[in-house]
Symmetry: none
Subunit: 526 residues, 2 copies
């Protein structure tokens, strides 16, 4: 039986090297708790020597009540010609007061001579001394061999000597890093295999990057070749093209390679975890992400949608529910009857019972799509449309009129946006005005003001995404404009759409659908 | 010596199955030309049987003057129990009038019995007949074996029989498709190897998807195992998690695996091509894309940035220039200098003569880019900026103020958009008002009315493209909005840009730059 795999997450350290990725201390703590709940084995929290935020994190992290995960502090081997106990950076690593310390050392002679400007001999001592110092101070030490694959290709004997030095110092794990991230699957597989053969009694790990688009593949190849620990980040955040993506590696290991690991039982929470980490980093979630992305099990073409309705596995490589995802059928002009039926079921309307209405509805839908509406990412608008069309549902809010004004005066160096909205809700007429940075914000604010007295639940709704697409933009200012909005009330997320040759009108349509949908949710007790 | 690899691009067909991916016919034609210039071998343009847009593409594609690429039409084998010559879909494939036709057929018995609801025997006939019918009508036929890997795992003998049927029919290439996209590297490598051994005289291809995050890895494994054609899409667009990404596969094959291919000499245009395809699909470019993304060679950490300055290869797996990319050091005034100099030369301003101004200008540019302006597709705005900054050029038109009003009255079933503009041109003040479908059209019309009496050349200018992109769309209605406009006077085409948290203000900036640029062109006698 093959050994269980340990998952080492470095989202909070190497992940933050990614362009546009940063976490507040509070966000780091929440991510650490979430990773622990998911069953991750090691959580690398930061580099105490590199910035004050990481120091603050370790101070707070001591108070976390973790179930399983061990927090690791990250740092480098001691400086050349300085005893380990006098190295300020190693001292900070001890002060972080974590059960685990991970330190990286040099493998590649190019780096030793050109960057560190020291000798091959001194480098070996730096590794051994630093690991021993930390071990003697009660730390579990993981040794990260930086540029291991480049170094091994350059000088395999020396590369192995650096690992031996770490082992002599007491490292419990030797992790081989493809720091530049460009290695191919066959290279990583061969080299990891040789290292595992050389150190039959020592745990070996891999730490890979995605510069050749192979971050996941080389990590899995390392495991195949005998490594039992894999380092990576959630959603593959990280420097340049990112670290190896754990949200892809974990399901591959569990579902495809049938490997054991502590977080296996939590796999169905993988998509949640992935969304949570992006939320904490204030990044948009990648729709195309394998396993966990919104598009991962989305079917567009008529052929695939049709077949997926007949036999689910026919176009799905796994059951989406295993990773907390779900099948979606995209409604587009390429799709026919069966995808609309499936979509209707998804939003809770059974069209089997209404064969005539279905035909009429399909005609209506084609007409709307021709006008520029698109329901792929606008489930809420689609459900409202079905309700209006099939259930004769009347809207809760009736628009009498709106007016939007944007005025710019150069002498005052000022642009003002103001909107008025006049609505009928029940028998009452509400007439409101609001200002904002731009016309869309002003219209949104006036709309909320008008509705909130009758439907206070509207105050929970927040706009989280706003997209504008010009269709057939060659028509210049006469083109049709599609506006897509994503809203949330903290529990659900829903998408709505509007389309018009007037951008304000298109925005209004998407805004009012978002509000109507929230009222519908509330009336259903959600 | 190993054989040259053929690149088969299906961005325009399988790529459009991706969520949110669509091309107009005009965009498809421009992409096809660009792929040909890059040296791609096969361009799959669409499925004539599936929608009217694809039919229109093939009609227009006949007029393209391609240097090397062959256009392929895509379709399926004939229906069960219908002679090939009577199959309406095969007829449409002939009518597309392309040198190459690619048809897919079933490999997996599950699909044959459950989805097609026919027999294993009839399926073999369907494949052979369909391929033969197309071959006899003068087409080069590529056979796509759908679900080949799933089918092979289920029943290897039958899977090989389907390929034999295609070969008997006259297929010049047998392409093995991992349609569900979930296979691992080792599986694909082993199966491709067996197929190549079984068909030593026939060309074999691979068509993979990215559902396990291994789209690139399994494609490369297929090549390693003997395939000589690889199908994929630019930027990995495509259904679910996308097709295998050619912008990653091509540089891996050329730079890492040292394989020959027709487009090898164009590799330094890879990033251009990648940006162009996303532009045509109105998608944002993925910063994290391997090789071609803006972050691919961006260094953030002090350690890496410092080391990269000492020895470039120390943290870069290839020279970025090989794929048309460049090293970026984030948060540093070093970045951009040489590209700004190049760009300035491009628009006719020599910055070598102004070293101090260059430094200042770079600072100004960074500030503007931080605010959301982007000059890659806005040469006219960039030239005006240089003129204002370096030559102290005053604008010909001075804005006093504008006002835009959009009013909607449900009872009248009408939305009115009106704009007023007040400008100073020379000593005269012009105050005009205009109406249009939407606020942008109204503003454009009022602006032209105000300027035309002084600069009648403005009447020649027409807006031909208008794009809106929301930056940081998570900020909802407060996000920064970038507006890009393309204009023409019938002789030249120019791009301008505006950015603001107010869409009207951003539009105004792009509009006024377009007008100023035309006045500049006219004053230069162009």
């Amino acid at each position: 039986m093959s050994q269980a795999i340990q998952i080492y997450d470095t989202t909070l350290r190497d992940g933050t090297q990614g362009e546009g990725v940063s976490f507040t201390v509070a966000a780091k703590l929440r991510v650490a708790e979430k990773l622990d709940q998911f069953g991750i084995d090691y959580i690398e929290g930061g580099w105490p020597g590199s910035n004050p935020r990481d120091l603050a994190f370790f101070e707070e992290a001591k108070k976390l009540k973790l179930h399983h995960a061990k927090i690791a502090a990250f740092g480098s081997t001691r400086r050349a010609s300085l005893p380990a106990e006098e190295d300020p950076q190693l001292k900070l690593l001890l002060e972080a007061d974590t059960p685990v310390v991970t330190i990286f050392g040099k493998t590649w002679l190019l780096h030793i001579t050109e960057i560190l400007r020291t000798t091959a001999e001194e480098n070996l001592k730096m590794i051994e001394d630093s690991v021993r110092f930390l071990t003697e101070n009660g730390r579990e030490v993981i040794y990260d061999a930086e540029h291991f694959f480049d170094g091994y290709c350059d000088d395999p004997d020396y590369a192995l000597q650096t690992l031996e030095a770490a082992k002599r110092g007491g490292a419990i794990n030797l992790t081989l890093c493809d720091t530049n991230g460009g290695k191919l699957v066959s290279e990583v597989e061969a080299i990891v295999g040789k290292v595992c053969a050389h150190f039959p009694d020592t745990l070996v790990g891999v730490h890979c990057h995605n510069d050749s688009g192979l971050g996941v593949a080389v990590s899995l190849a390392g495991i195949d070749a005998g490594a039992t620990l894999v380092q990576g980040t959630m959603n593959g955040v990280g420097e340049r093209n990112g670290n190896a993506n754990l949200t892809t590696i974990i399901p591959n290991l569990v579902l495809k390679m049938k490997r054991e690991m502590n977080c296996k039982s939590q796999l169905s929470k993988l998509r949640d975890l992935s969304l949570f980490v992006d939320e904490m980093a204030n990044r948009s979630h990648d729709m195309k992400a394998p396993f966990v992305g919104a598009s991962a099990f989305a079917h567009k073409g008529g052929v695939h949608a049709d077949a997926a309705a007949k036999v689910k596995e026919s176009y799905e490589h796994i059951e989406p529910e295993l990773v907390g995802n779900r099948t979606r059928v995209l409604v587009s002009d390429m799709s026919g009857r069966s995808s609309v039926m499936m979509k209707a079921k998804e939003v809770g309307v059974d069209l089997d019972a209404h064969p005539d209405e279905l035909r009429e509805f399909l005609g209506k839908l084609k007409e709307l799509e021709y006008k520029g509406y698109e329901y792929e990412a606008a489930d809420a608008s689609f459900k409202l449309l079905l309700n209006r069309y099939l259930n004769g549902k009347k809207d809760d809010v009736e628009l009498i009129g709106y007016r939007v004004m944007v005025g710019h005066q150069t002498a005052m160096n000022r642009t003002v946006s103001e909107a008025t909205v006049q609505l009928k809700v029940g028998d009452e007429i509400h007439h409101t005005v609001a200002e904002s940075n731009g016309p869309v914000g002003a219209l949104d604010a006036a709309l909320r003001k008008a509705i909130a007295p009758v439907f206070p639940e509207i105050s929970e709704v927040e706009l989280i995404d706003f997209k504008v697409r010009i269709l057939d933009s060659q028509h210049g200012t006469d083109a049709i404009i599609r506006v897509q909005i994503e809203s949330t009330d903290g529990k659900e997320i829903w998408g709505t759409v509007g389309a018009s040759d007037n951008i304000i009108e298109a925005t209004w349509e998407a805004l009012i659908d978002s509000v109507e949908y929230k009222i519908l949710l509330h009336s259903e007790g959600k």
